[in-house]
Amino acid sequence: MKIIRDDFPILSVLENGKPLIYLDNAATTSKPLAVLNAVETYYRMDNANPHRGVYELGARATKAHEDSRKIVGDFLNASSDEIVFTQNATESLNLIAYSYGIEFLKKGDEIVLSVAEHHSNLVPWQRVSKITGAKLVYLYPDNMGHLTEEELDKKITSKTRLIAVAQVSNILGIEIPIDSIVRRARNAGAVVVLDCAQSIPHMIVDVKALDVDFAVFSGHKLYAPMGIGVLYGKKDLLDKMPPFLTGGDMIGSVHEQSSTYAEVPRRFEAGTRNVGGEVGLAAAINYLNSLGWENIKNHEKELMTQALKGLTDIPHITIYGDPSPDKRHGVISFNVEEVHPHDTASLLDSDGITVRAGHHCAQPLMEYLKINSCVRVSFGIYNTKEDVDIFINSLKNVRGLMGYGS
């Protein structure tokens, strides 16, 4: 897939005077020309406020808006009216927490999260817990980073009303046993919120086959522009939820003292939509589909295998979670013994390699792993074997540069 690098203009900038080796794809991805051009064309040809003008240009904007919704729906195997556009995964999760969690949970209920959740799938539930009295219960991974059947049995009980989990953790990179979780949720009568922010760039997410109740992701991690996110919700659930943000476009009728609300999905889309972002997201999905998901998976699996092998071969490196490539998608987190992650990242950066160091918006997992922070390398469709080689070679020098023998 090397040829596609030309589709991504940013990959030819310099990083610290060196060719950029972009390995922070889990934070955000680079955008292909297909996406940049689609957005630009929208603003050059079709820009208007959707749903508001009876004129032709307005109709084109409305069509761009609704066509994008259809493309996202098809991508997730959902129908269009189950797709709500938001600004990012975080807003999608807040929407569910507010309009479902606060509305339908109560004292005595339990909300089950994994301790590996990103703050965006954690802090909103703390608020729900505080307001409703529902209890937050955490799933803890085993020492390979997996959620075991025993752990699921123990935590998902008849009190469980909602389970919110990332399909792939942004630190461990490990896919959770979502089928087991959904099965237990069905028995418990709980709804399942799937945070696909880190899974969807690497695999097809079929919400119907998974039978999850809600799913969320961010466009910017899927090669689309920033400022556009998605919430999928089963129609019957969305139908019974009150609105979250209120204002223009999401209303039925407004009187001085009271209002009625529009049907879903519009009920959840207040104010002028980011149609440019939606068009960009649709273009990104089309682009990925045209590459072919089997190709993407195979390519990324190769990179993952190579990187894990390289990392395990370097002494004084701790990898967090199962180091077998089959279980992993996109990310590997690790630390270099005696070297602070920020120093590791800065030294890699001096070779043009961008990785992330910090708590990665997952402090509870850091506490659980008894580390303060770690380094994360994460791959995208445009990364190459050479990128991985350069990364591994640079990493080999880190301890030496920090004054350690090896």
């Binding site: 508001r52 109709a59 223009g248 209303i251 039925g252 049907e263």
Partner: protein, 153 residues
């Protein structure tokens, strides 16, 4: 699409056509349909017996397209069977959505075909559809219409 021609030839006449603006005696169904966002508001009255729409009429206000569409629909369905009316309904929806474009297939809709161009004016589709939507609900025995709620046009 020549919008002015559309307005000129069909809508203006029909929107003022008074022959369908009346209440129906011994109506078997009376249903109000509203587009809350633009204020189109019609009340459709039907007299159905032996599966035949014996009489139909409407009252209400709204834009020329909504009023014309209602009047033309009444012209078409009066005297037809409920089955036939439902068939017209599907044809009309197909035409307005742009799914059915074949003129031969649409021929039975008579001068309603003049509304075909509305399929390119998504902002006005609701206006054209209101009457048909209300008809559908009335034939289904609904006593309250949901209207074609679509937020703000």
């Amino acid at each position: 699409m020549d919008l002015k021609a559309l307005y000129n030839q069909i809508i203006v006449e029909n929107s003022r056509a008074v022959h369908n603006r009346h209440k129906v005696e011994h109506a078997t169904a009376v249903l109000e349909g509203v587009n809350p966002s633009c204020g189109d508001d019609i009340t459709l009255e039907l007299k159905v017996s032996d599966g035949i729409i014996k009489d139909a009429g409407f009252t209400g206000t709204g834009c020329a397209i909504s009023q014309a569409s209602t009047s033309m629909m009444i012209d078409l369905i009066t005297g037809k069977t409920v089955e036939e009316a439902k068939n017209f309904l599907n044809l009309f929806y197909g035409m307005i959505k742009g799914d059915i474009t074949d003129d031969d297939q649409l021929e039975v809709l008579d001068d309603i075909v003049s509304l075909k161009g509305i399929s390119h004016m998504p902002g006005r589709v609701k206006c054209a559809v209101l009457a048909w939507h209300t008809l559908e609900e009335a034939l289904d025995g609904k006593t309250e219409s949901k209207g074609c709620s679509d937020g703000e046009l």
